[in-house]
């Protein structure tokens, strides 16, 4: 029995519930939260090995065979995402231990983080599109609370907008699901894919896929990212890092899954629009990153740029480009978390958000400064670090497909990323120090440990790209050939029946 697939969802939910009863014991809360995320990370690693050995695994809830019941599917792509999400959450929790404060801890902070991770992992693993909606909502509901938790004026103001945008997006998601159900009469993703390829992707189905594109674009911050910089900069640094690493990436995952598995038949419409969106996102994100002088805003616009960059791979849809997308998605989850934690630490140390008011941090905190430098190199894609392989593969794929405009935009965006991050580095880390030795706040040890671990992960992903690529290739094999996925889900349901 493949019950191991559901553990990344059920362990966080269970620990979140247990933590509600332990409200007053902050130390026990930390221990349980950390232990459960550690367990999920180990489980997802085991699962990854298992999937590579045995192929796609599935778990029919309650023994209801597909397409009748809800099911969880573990293929290499989803498990890679679960692994990255679990590792990132583990280190964000470690960072939060020393920075989040008693007030958050007594207001069920860890419970909400765990519930959010449960929603994220559920979204990655589910094989049913309505279940995807439910997992999205679990994740979003927890994120609504995390944005507003703390109750400061600016937090409440921004969280209200964030919630409203997402509520409207969820309604549009449901509209798309209603049309989809009305047309193909099923909600199992593999079954949808099978029926769509049998009857051909007629205009109605293409329309449905475009509605889904709009919904996931809103969630992923593709073109429709106007809500993102405002709401991602208000919560505490650990929450920002979690949002940056997980929430938009779930949208990207959903886009990739939708347009490789269910609606790959009319690329001249859907993928062309995706390509336009990706290019536009990169340009607009670059403008935002260049114009801002607030460190948090610059980091937030960097999320937007990377979302656009990842989706170049989906838009040109050669196998190489898809491999690049999957690899870059994995790298970006870790690297964006590190970037946001570093930036959050800068704000914590100086009490300022604008780069003009910070200077000479590297003299006070040398290790911290060089960690930032490392993260910057990784995000730009300098060879031994994690961003390099993804960028090269996406570039190679774009050349194969002849999409030179997207290729140019993608690599021009690397320069803008470098420029915007270097702007922070030069003005805030170099120069005369403004912090005297007496005023110098000590770096919290647990936070430093999490920063160093994430940096080690980035270096590890870069150095061990060969090993990781084996899993990525496996994931791409399934993405490029939807029939593998469909057969794995539906093959035994005909013979056994219900």
């Amino acid at each position: 029995m493949n019950n191991i697939i559901v553990l990344p969802l059920i362990i966080p939910i269970f620990s979140a519930v247990v933590l509600v009863f332990l409200r007053r014991f902050a130390a026990v809360q930390r221990l349980i939260a950390f232990a459960s995320m550690l367990a999920v990370s180990i489980i997802s690693f085991v699962l990854l090995e298992l999937v590579r050995k045995e192929g796609i695994l599935k778990l029919d809830f309650g023994g209801w065979k597909p397409p009748y019941g809800i099911l969880f599917v573990a293929d290499s792509f989803s498990v890679l995402m679960v692994l990255a999400a679990s590792i990132v959450t583990l280190f964000c929790l470690l960072y939060a231990f020393s920075t989040i404060g008693d007030r958050h801890e007594s207001m069920f902070f860890y419970s909400f983080v765990l519930l959010m991770v449960a929603g994220v992992n559920g979204s990655f693993l589910t094989g049913d599109i309505f279940n995807l909606f439910v997992c999205f909502e679990v994740m979003l509901m927890a994120s609504y609370v995390l944005v507003a938790l703390g109750g400061e004026k600016v937090q409440l103001r921004e969280s209200l907008k964030y919630v409203l945008i997402n509520v409207v997006a969820s309604s549009v998601f449901l509209i798309a699901l209603a049309y989809l159900y009305g047309t193909v009469k099923t909600l199992n993703m593999a079954h949808i894919a099978e029926r769509v390829s049998e009857v051909g992707q007629d205009p109605i189905l293409t329309l449905v896929s475009l509605v889904l594109l709009i919904v996931f674009s809103l969630k992923a911050g593709l073109v429709l990212f106007f809500w993102l910089p405002g709401s991602y900069v208000v919560p505490p640094a650990a929450v920002q890092a979690l949002f940056a690493a997980l929430l938009t990436k779930v949208g990207v995952y959903a886009l990739i899954r939708t347009f490789t598995l269910m609606f790959p038949h009319h690329p001249e419409t859907t993928h062309a629009i995706l390509g336009c969106f990706a290019g536009l996102t990169i340009v607009l994100g670059c403008l935002g990153a260049l114009s801002s002088r607030n460190v948090l805003k610059i980091a937030a616009y960097n999320i937007v740029i990377s979302v656009g960059f990842i989706l170049i791979g989906l838009a040109v849809r050669t196998e190489t480009a898809l491999a690049g997308s999957v690899f870059y998605l994995f790298h970006d989850m870790v690297a964006k978390a590190l970037l946001f934690l570093l930036v959050g630490m800068m704000v914590y140390l100086t009490g300022e958000k604008r780069i003009d008011f910070m200077s000479g941090l590297i003299r006070n905190y040398p290790l911290f400064g060089w960690l930032y430098f490392l993260a910057m190199l990784a995000l730009v894609g300098i060879p031994p670090l994690s961003g390099f392989v993804g960028k090269v593969l996406i570039g190679k794929g774009a050349i194969e497909a002849g999409s030179y405009v997207l290729l140019f935009l993608g690599f021009a965006s690397s320069l803008v990323v470098l420029f915007s991050l270097l702007k922070i580095f030069l003005s805030s880390f170099f120069g005369e120090t403004i912090i005297t030795n007496e005023d110098k706040k000590p770096l919290p040890k647990a936070s430093m440990a999490s920063l160093v671990s994430l940096a080690v992960c980035i270096a590890g992903i870069g150095m061990g790209a060969e090993q990781l690529l084996a899993y990525v290739q496996d994931a791409v094999k399934t993405l490029a050939n939807p029939s593998i996925y469909i057969d794995a889900i539906l093959s035994d349901s005909d013979s056994e029946g219900v």
């Binding site: 019950n3 559901v6 269970f14 247990v18 509600v20 029919d60 809830f61 309650g62 023994g63």
Partner: protein, 140 residues
């Protein structure tokens, strides 16, 4: 300010029993007929909220000293626990079973583990609903 609510109080004393009984009835009828944990929980919660409206929050909290947040958490715990039970018996997650049992005096009864799951759902609904209403109304 004291409001004159004699009629409300008198009616509630009788009606609350009917509402709570209806809630329990809906909860148990859910297996073969319309009803179930969610609907039963909603009715039970609306009964409890009616009590809060009729009497004041302090009086009811003295008689029902639960933290409703914990009630909701207990509900999720039970519902998720039934899923884990299936994992323990090496069946697919969320598998349920049922059986007929003979009891002295009440005779043959059909019992299912789905009822446990539904109990979790009902507790969650009661807990969240009452928490929502209380958190809005407790604010000064």
């Amino acid at each position: 300010m004291r409001i004159n609510d004699v009629i409300l109080r008198t009616v509630v004393k009788v009606v609350i029993l009917i509402i709570l009984t209806l809630g329990v009835y809906l909860f148990f009828s859910g297996h073969h007929a319309p009803g179930g944990g969610f609907i039963g929980g909603l009715v039970l919660a609306s009964g409890i909220i009616l009590l809060f409206v009729t009497y004041d929050i302090e009086t009811i909290q003295r008689k029902m000293p639960f933290d409703f947040k914990k009630v909701a958490a207990l509900g999720v715990f039970i519902a998720a626990g039934t899923g884990l039970g299936a994992i323990y018996f090496d069946l697919p997650f969320l598998s349920h079973t049922d059986g007929h049992f003979k009891f002295p005096f009440i005779g043959d009864k059909h019992l299912t583990t789905v009822t446990l799951f539904e109990a979790g759902v009902a507790l969650t609904v009661i807990g969240t609903l009452v928490t929502m209403i209380l958190s809005i109304s407790e604010d000064e």
